[in-house]
């Protein structure tokens, strides 16, 4: 049995959809790259088209260090199945998905010099139209499935064209973002329930290490290849504000959004990589994991 750890960073505006700044991409990326280099660990960086356009230097740094550069939408727009109501967020129409995706791919490719093959939907709100568009545009991996939100699938699968949440015959590989599955902890008290995020930042490396063992064990019941896909953000590696003023009011974020952003998160991420090494886990990119999984499928 082999366990792969995939770190995939969503390269977007600060605190996702709320701020219009790129402090995380500009200052957090260097911190992440330094830790990855120290441990000689590859990772995946998923840029929105606009983030790539606005931060070409960050894209070049990531690509020059040998990491995978993928895509995270054009403007962090949501397209599909919302997990909750967000003020001032209206999903784009299905008919608009492919055009925006093409624009995003072009921007990311122009900045990185390579064709992106991995995608993640902003907020993990994936939808049928976008999954189909990804297949059409030659993407190999969609890293959007949230185990916390959708529950059913804990291992990678090829989605159905009709229902992306169900296994089917698409070439695209859906890799689930894991959620904690043990009964020892009452996850309902957390901000995002049993979702992995943002518990590395809030509760630290030890907590995640313990919880992840259960996840791996559960996957190992049916598969000899197991995988822990993380979603993280560069803005978690620099201090973030607790509120945002704009011209009609003020957002007061739940503390979980900004707590421990900066040095604490940087330290926990560093520690966690060390623990994964001790546990014998291997590190790879989403793109390379896709190859591993395909060859594993052929063997079965």
């Amino acid at each position: 049995m082999k366990t792969y750890v995939l770190f995939a960073f969503d390269m977007e505006t600060d605190i996702g959809s709320y701020l219009k700044t790129y402090d995380g991409v500009r200052e957090g990326t260097g911190r992440i790259l330094a830790i990855l280099e120290k441990h000689r660990v590859p990772a995946t960086f998923l840029f929105t088209g606009e983030a790539a356009l606005a931060n070409p230097e960050a894209v070049r740094q990531v690509a020059a260090a040998g990491h995978e550069v993928g895509c995270h939408g054009l403007r962090h727009e949501t397209v599909g199945d919302a997990h909750f109501h967000m003020p001032n967020d209206t999903p784009i129409l299905e008919s608009e998905v492919e055009h925006r995706l093409r624009m995003a791919v072009r921007m990311v490719r122009d900045a990185s010099g390579t064709q992106p093959v991995t995608f993640r939907a902003p907020r993990l709100w994936q939808g049928r139209a976008q999954v189909r568009a990804l297949e059409k545009l030659g993407f190999q991996v969609d890293a959007s499935y949230s185990v916390a939100a959708h529950k059913d699938r804990i291992l990678p699968y090829h989605p159905s064209r009709e229902d992306w949440l169900a296994p089917g015959r698409m070439r695209l590989l859906e890799i689930p973002n894991f959620a904690f599955l043990d009964a020892e902890t009452d996850y309902s008290r957390f901000f995002c329930g049993n979702d992995q995020w943002p518990l590395l930042r809030l509760l630290g490396a030890d907590f995640v290490r313990r919880g992840a063992r259960h996840v791996v064990a559960r996957q190992a019941e049916t598969s000899t290849v197991t995988v822990l896909l993380f979603y993280l953000h560069p803005w978690e590696f620099v201090p973030m504000p607790e509120r945002c003023d704009y011209d009609e009011g003020t957002f007061l974020f739940k503390p979980e959004l900004s707590k421990n952003c900066g040095d604490v998160m940087t330290g926990e991420f560093d520690s966690y990589i060390g623990m994964c090494r001790e546990d014998g886990f291997q590190f790879t990119t989403c793109r390379d994991f896709c190859r591993i999984w395909r060859s594993h499928e052929r063997k079965d």
């Binding site: 959809s17 709320y18 403007r75 962090h76 727009e77 949501t78 997990h83 909750f84 109501h85 967000m86 003020p87 001032n88 967020d89 209206t90 784009i92 129409l93 008919s95 608009e96 055009h99 925006r100 945002c244 704009y246 011209d247 009609e248 009011g249 003020t250 957002f251 007061l252 974020f253 739940k254 959004l257």
Partner: protein, 304 residues
């Protein structure tokens, strides 16, 4: 051609949308605030235009039928109250829709209103008053003839209706769209204009009261009469102003607290002030018409 000096027009446009603009998914204002608006308009026997988003129309067909049944003009206000065109202030929104996405969305809006009313809508207002040359081209293509999106408080220059120039929608030209600006008060102070809290006509009927608005719009009217021989001032209002609105909303990732001007005096106070304002205007001899009608009046002037 100059009109007569008693040609003083006021237009009221109600933006039929989710509560407090784009921040919520609810239609409490549309459901409970529309009837009070209609009562006021009927009591004084005046016209108005109700600009429906496509989504609002689909989800509140009872209200659209009510408005239609009373014979008021029904115009369009985009599909989902999306931001489009050129932003003139910092919203909390995800970002504008792309220029190439505009036509399809406005066509959806137009078709929904067309099917519900049996008439082709002619009047449009853009969410948040964000306009662009592309928006004007799209409106023309879809058969609209009147737009009321230009905000004098933002663009500073105009408060009198004008036909847009193709090269720049904010300038007067030979285009087919009549732009009916949303007026601002005394522009002498425009240098320290702080969006809609100082000069914009909205939301002062609610926040400052009928007398204040009536008194302060007079210099604007007089200036138009002196320069154009006719006056025409447009107001924008929302049914959610006629129903109490919350100070904040809670959601999964935090709390959105509105600035006071958004919720202050929503409900009864706004109903009273609006009624009072219409009374004052009628007693003073203003003619209150809908946007379609002001379009016809200006078209007639243009032909002459």
């Amino acid at each position: 051609m100059r009109g007569k000096t008693d040609e003083r027009y006021l237009m009221f446009g109600f933006d039929m949308e989710t509560d407090v603009g784009s921040t919520s998914r609810t239609y409490e204002g549309v459901q409970h605030g529309t009837q009070p608006c209609i009562d006021i308009l009927e009591r004084h026997g005046v016209q108005a235009t109700f600009f429906f988003t496509g989504d609002c129309a689909l989800k509140n067909m009872n209200i659209l039928d009510l408005v239609k049944g009373k014979g008021f003009e029904i115009g369009c206000h985009s599909m989902y109250h999306e931001d489009m065109g050129e932003p003139s202030f910092n919203t909390s929104s995800q970002g504008m829709i792309l220029e190439e996405e505009m036509e399809h969305r406005l066509e959806m809006n137009r078709r929904i209103v067309r099917e519900a009313t049996g008439k082709d809508p002619v009047s449009f207002r853009s969410p948040r008053g964000f306009g662009s040359n592309g928006l004007m081209r799209t409106l023309k293509k879809l058969g609209f003839s009147v737009d009321s999106s230009y905000m004098q408080s933002m663009h500073l220059k105009r408060n009198y209706p004008y036909y847009v120039a193709e090269a720049d929608w904010r300038e007067e030209g030979a285009g087919d769209i009549l732009e009916v600006p949303l007026f601002a008060f005394d522009l002498e102070n425009a240098a320290d204009n702080d969006y809609q809290k100082k000069l914009d006509c909205w939301p002062r009927i609610r926040t400052h009261g009928a007398e204040f608005v009536f008194r302060n719009m007079k210099p604007v009217v007089e200036k138009q009469l002196a320069e154009k021989g006719r006056s025409a001032l447009a107001f924008y209002l929302h049914p959610w102003e006629f129903h109490p609105m919350p100070r904040s909303i809670h959601y999964a990732e935090g709390t959105l607290t509105y600035d006071e001007f958004l919720y202050k005096n929503t409900g009864h106070k706004q109903v009273e002030e609006m009624d009072r304002f219409v009374s004052l205007c009628i007693a003073d001899g203003f003619r209150i018409v809908d946007f379609r009608t002001i379009g016809v009046i200006f078209e007639r002037g243009r032909a002459a």
